[in-house]
């Protein structure tokens, strides 16, 4: 846990604009690392778009994205209508899950927390599946809000159940696992009640899949993220303070319970919106903050931004892998992220002892 202490590093960049009431201290490495990450992200995006049933040369990909004619008239259609929405959606989902996981790890002071492992994604899924099962005419625009309600209720349930148990961070994960399997059973139960055509859709959606994504979904994700991500980045200072422990946080004048509730809601919303568009995808929210912490240290100002980028990068790579490994068919992306994430979880478990 020593790694989580926010203050021991000496080199800082301070951002304190006159016009805005914010004050950020970034690790000196942050800008350079973000630069490298963005370059990596750009490269992997282009690679990902160029790979597919038939490959498109990277230069043509860039041309097609910007609407410049290439020598193949199909390029613009394939890139813009089929490949780009899916890949951008993966990117946004990764960013959202990364941010959600980083907040959750910050609040619980537990570096094993993840919206997938803790069952928060499943909680969002239960409410959505219940709505689709019982509503006569499901309204699509309601679904993100229902997912949010489900995620928030699940977070509150897990938090409430583990709260009195003191500071055992591993127990929180165990309770999350129990809640997740209860939610999983509820979903299976609901699916047996569904009309058969809806049930098949639900199955595909639940494995965590970005197959057949549309620009509408990208737009939906983007709308939510434009609101949620700035709030997330601005809550860095609160998260840093919470890392010091409950007593110290209250002592420093933070309204702990209020702040905690706001942050839980934020993290739930970020997880819920990914569930709405792509079903339950695990482990990204757990792995991304770890990688980011290695890169820019534990202070949340740099960490939250870096995690968002790393999460997006991881999802783009996972999506590429999911399409490439068993081409011409493809894996649900939830499978790829579990195959990457689970061994890392085991490694951390091994490392921390306790």
């Amino acid at each position: 846990m020593a790694e989580n202490q926010p203050f021991p590093r000496p080199n800082w960049i301070t951002i304190r604009p006159r016009l805005l009431p914010i004050s950020w201290r970034l690790d000196r490495r942050t800008p350079a690392i973000l630069g490298v990450l963005f370059i990596a992200l750009a490269i992997s995006l282009v690679m990902s778009v160029s790979y597919g049933e038939y490959n498109i040369a990277p230069l043509d990909v860039v041309r097609a994205v910007f609407g410049v004619e290439t020598n193949d008239p199909n390029h613009i259609l394939v890139v813009r209508s089929f490949r780009l929405p899916r890949i951008l959606l993966s990117l946004l989902i990764g960013a959202s899950l990364g941010a959600s996981g980083a907040i959750m790890q910050g609040i619980t002071r537990n570096d094993l927390a993840d919206p997938g492992i803790l069952g928060i994604n499943t909680g969002a899924g239960v409410v959505v599946v219940a709505y689709v099962t019982f509503a006569a005419f499901p309204v699509n625009s309601l679904i993100p809000w229902l997912a949010f309600a489900g995620a928030l209720a699940t977070s509150a349930l897990i938090y409430g159940l583990s709260w009195k148990a003191g500071s055992s961070t591993l127990r929180l994960i165990l309770i999350g696992v129990g809640v997740a399997s209860l939610g999983g059973a509820a979903i299976s139960f609901l699916i047996t009640r569904m009309q058969i055509d809806r049930a098949q859709q639900a199955y595909v959606w639940l494995t965590g899949s970005v197959y057949g994504s549309t620009w509408e979904e990208v737009q939906l994700m983007l709308t939510w993220l434009v609101v949620l991500l700035p709030i997330t980045f601005l809550s860095a200072r609160q998260l840093n303070t919470m890392g010091l422990g409950d007593e110290l946080t209250i002592g420093l004048g933070l309204r702990l319970e209020v702040q905690r509730f706001v942050l839980i809601a934020l993290s739930s919303a970020l997880a819920a919106i990914t569930v709405t568009v792509a079903g339950t995808i695990g482990f990204i929210g757990f792995v991304a903050p770890h990688i980011a912490r290695r890169l820019v240290g534990p202070s949340h100002e740099g960490l939250l931004i870096t995690t968002t980028v790393v999460g997006g990068l991881l999802m783009v790579i996972s999506d590429l892998l999911a399409r490439w490994v068993i081409a011409p068919s493809e894996l649900p992306i939830g499978v790829t992220t579990a195959i990457i994430g689970a061994p890392y979880f085991a490694y951390l478990l091994y490392q921390r002892g306790r």
């Binding site: 094993l112 159940l161 583990s162 148990a165 055992s168 591993l170 127990r171 994960i173 165990l174 309770i175 696992v177 129990g178 809640v179 399997s181 209860l182 999983g184 059973a185 509820a186 299976s188 139960f189 047996t192 009640r193 494995t207 695990g282 068993i326 068919s329 493809e330 894996l331 649900p332 939830g334 499978v335 579990a338 195959i339 689970a342 061994p343 979880f345 085991a346 478990l349 091994y350 490392q351 921390r352 002892g353 306790r354």
Partner: protein
């Protein structure tokens, strides 16, 4: 000395006098038989209890009801009783050996390992003979036990209940991802074992049960023979060693029994969770801490739980059926949360 501590802990059990323990066990068997009889009558076609008995003792293959009972309902419910007993006994042994209230073949990933081995086998071999199936499931269970135990005990602090449990959960998630990958990759494998991978006792046939049962019988008898030693270990590693027990050998033999029991029951019904978790706790509340009684009680109670869950799953949503894995999770998951919240250290 252990006698004294056993006696004091026995005072908390539901069945006080030791002489009543065999009576309780017989009562359990009676409940199981009664439950079986009622369960067989339930289903798409209503069948009288008398017809059930007639079909067993005076089988007449010209009668449609007899045919249903013999080929559909009886194998299903017998499969249920067998795996219920096997998983409950396996869970009881695991909880005794690891001093971990959350230990059970489902949660520690043994079932997931066995299921993954079977999926791999079907993927590479097509339709292997049933004996191969059994060996696959059992070796998968064995590999999972070794991996999860290693993962849970390396690192600082040695084996703790929470670490072992998390290792099992993560191992399950990991193998589940690979299982899904194979099922997506290979439509034929998917069709063959789609229902099996979620844990189901519907549509089992006699041949499968006949191939798996010997392993479960060996596991159960072995567990009974080891029960005295398991009781001693459950009182603490130090006490067991102080009494001159070769604890390593006892653990190794008991682990083999667990692997046989869990592996073979996965071979029959796929990964069915929570029986091995819940039953030993209930049984300990009834009959105390002596594994000579815990093991047979667990076997009977595990059978009762499966029969109950299966019957309820068949009647609440008629004509549809709730898979037994789902029914058990509704009971088992809250129990798991309760244990994780209040009973682990």
């Amino acid at each position: 000395m252990t006698q004294a501590s056993v006696a004091s802990r026995n005072n908390q059990r539901l069945i006080g006098p030791a002489a009543l323990l065999p009576v309780g066990l017989l009562a359990g068997v009676a409940i199981l038989v009664l439950g079986l009889a009622v369960s067989i009558t339930l289903g798409a076609a209503e069948i009288e209890v008398s017809t059930v008995f007639a079909s067993i003792f005076q089988y007449d293959d010209t009668l449609f009801d007899h045919l249903i009972i013999r080929t559909v309902r009886l194998p299903r419910i017998i499969a249920g009783v067998i795996i219920g007993a096997a998983l409950a006994v396996a869970g009881a042994i695991m909880q005794g050996l690891t001093a971990n209230p959350l230990a059970s073949p489902g949660i520690l990933g043994i079932n997931a390992g066995a299921a993954f081995a079977v999926v791999l086998g079907v993927f590479f071999l097509g339709s292997p003979p049933l004996l191969t199936y059994a060996f696959l499931a059992i070796s998968g269970a064995g590999a999972a036990a070794v991996i999860v135990y290693t993962l849970g005990s390396v690192g600082r602090g040695g084996t703790t209940p929470v670490k072992l449990t998390l290792a099992g959960v993560i191992f399950s998630a990991f193998t589940a991802a690979f299982t899904t990958a194979i099922l997506v990759l290979d439509r034929q494998t998917f069709d063959q074992i789609r229902f099996w991978t979620v844990g189901s006792i519907a549509g089992r046939d006699w041949e499968l049960i006949a191939w798996m049962s010997p392993f479960i019988a060996i596991g159960t008898i072995g567990a009974m023979l080891m029960s005295r030693q398991i009781t001693t270990i459950s009182l603490g590693q130090d006490i067991a060693q102080g009494l001159g027990q070769n604890t390593t050998r006892v653990r190794a033999i008991s682990a083999i029994m667990v692997i046989l029991l869990a592996g073979a029951s996965v071979g029959i019904a796929g990964p069915v969770g929570f029986v091995g978790l819940v039953i030993p706790h209930v049984v300990r509340a009834i009959c105390g801490v002596d594994y000579r009684w815990i093991i047979p009680y667990s076997a009977v109670a595990g059978g009762i739980l499966i029969v109950l869950a299966d019957s309820i799953g068949r009647i609440i949503l008629r004509p549809q059926e709730v898979p037994i894995g789902v029914m058990l999770a509704f009971v088992g998951a809250p129990f798991f949360i309760y244990l994780a919240r209040w009973k682990v250290r």
